[in-house]
Symmetry: C2
Subunit: 336 residues, 2 copies
Amino acid sequence: MNKQKINIVDMTLRDGSHAVSHSFSPEQVEKVAGGLDKVGVSIIEVSHGDGIAGSSVNYGFSKYPEMDLIKSANKVVKNAKLGVLLIPGIGTIQDLEEAHRNGASVVRVATHVTEADVGIQHIEHAKKIGMTAVGFLMMSHMGSPEKILEQAKIFESAGADYINLADSAGYLTPDGVKERVSILKENLSLPVGFHSHNNLGLAVANSIAAVESGATYIDATCRGLGAGAGNTQNEVLCAVLNRMGYDTGVDFYGLMDVAEEIVEPIMQRPQVINTPSLMLGYAGVYSSFLLHTYKAAERFNLNPRDILVELGKRKMVGGQEDMIIDVAYSLSQQNK
Amino acid sequence: MNKQKINIVDMTLRDGSHAVSHSFSPEQVEKVAGGLDKVGVSIIEVSHGDGIAGSSVNYGFSKYPEMDLIKSANKVVKNAKLGVLLIPGIGTIQDLEEAHRNGASVVRVATHVTEADVGIQHIEHAKKIGMTAVGFLMMSHMGSPEKILEQAKIFESAGADYINLADSAGYLTPDGVKERVSILKENLSLPVGFHSHNNLGLAVANSIAAVESGATYIDATCRGLGAGAGNTQNEVLCAVLNRMGYDTGVDFYGLMDVAEEIVEPIMQRPQVINTPSLMLGYAGVYSSFLLHTYKAAERFNLNPRDILVELGKRKMVGGQEDMIIDVAYSLSQQNK
């Protein structure tokens, strides 16, 4: 088989932003984006961790104005495309236009895996103003392959250039990735991308499973920088893809240097798998549930891990944090 | 399919010893081994990182006498078996007898993947004194599946109770694991085990690939503690095996607590994948080559990474460090 070209989407300056409390400075962005551009990644994503306009009391304030960060990246990005993430309800079409004026040429419109319809207008608008538009389905472990295909078709009809699946909770194992990517490759003509988290130590393996199922865009971050247990470690991913004979267009030695010399010194803590991030991946729930879960566990004298597992079983999603008390209450009744 | 029981071999107190410069104290061993015993791992391995009698100028001195560590573990290990690693040429039959008198009931006799014959007498002696004896093939990426089967048969003839393959350089991808484990399962009646390193971020995935190919003993360490990029992170492995429906007999919540409350405070640095460990896994060479390679690179004005890749191609093994100069010289001639 002639192996397909794999496009590396580096999100150090977006998902990685969670791991530095959204503190990237314009100078840091210029250095990281400049380094990534030189080594040949395809897309460099720069936004608040929760997408443009994420800076808020709910999601954490950015230390520097986000549009200044996009402008900084735009000064140095010459070969790659400069991208932003947009979560409808957090970012607006006005925010998108501003990001576009500041140099972003790609937008990934991210919705919950069952709610692609809320992103239709954003995809359509992005295409109208000449951007590359990506339909991005979060928490894809909560959707069956058939559901994911249905939702991807909504994005396709809106004009999306490719579909990106995200294992936002780091819950999936390689088999689950394969069936989700494969159904899209078999039924859509659009390229497919994949985004992993490392909560179960499977981020690289899941990325490889996606590639082997036909995905041609893979999300990653230098040193795995990212929320919770972090994302796919970009330099490790490129090492494995090199070894497997895939062309990424990335200068692997140069990428290792960007990770070690530019990104590592900015990091506030090493990216490891600890008990909370492991439990989130094991249960398949959002990290925003963690604090509320610990509180409920104390109140009802429960093991917080049992609450997380039950929340995962009930497929609770971000915004349903109030259900944690209900779940804790019913578990405490069962224990009686 | 009725899923086989998976035996967890915890080597926090053996391979993990590399990551703390062989400084485990009898008190620390007692706490870690006691915790591991309670949560239900099958074998607890306690030795210098390079096996019993590894404490030396070559491999690094242990801070405390190794036999005292084995005795400490033996005081608290009630359910698991207490094991040691023995590399012929480093440890001797006398060392093994002493370890056995101090409570070790399992010995894993570790040789290079093509040199099982040097371990025959150790396996035979271990069986004679009533121990469980394991044939352990290191650097298994350097052996073809057929070669590995041939070498495993040598251990089988000597009386080994099971065969353990080790991806000592963290080089293999899941396909390489599957073909190596499968050929043993198809041609031997002995159980098979697997030992991963995380240099390519694939330790958990490779362990799962081994299990799916029929391996029933998996090596792991709490928090992934180990040489270089570390080993398979035990609590993460057990999470994934739980999720996949395998019975490990391990109390997963309890194991997370051992990792977080007992092992993490002992660690000297977090277990991450950095440039040197990534390059070792990428090239497939021993970590003992690293320092010599950097020196040779400076002398011949080469990129040390190119030297490592060439060493891997030539299948250099520990003890052949003098070849590094030859390789560097020939690379420098090619560059002219």
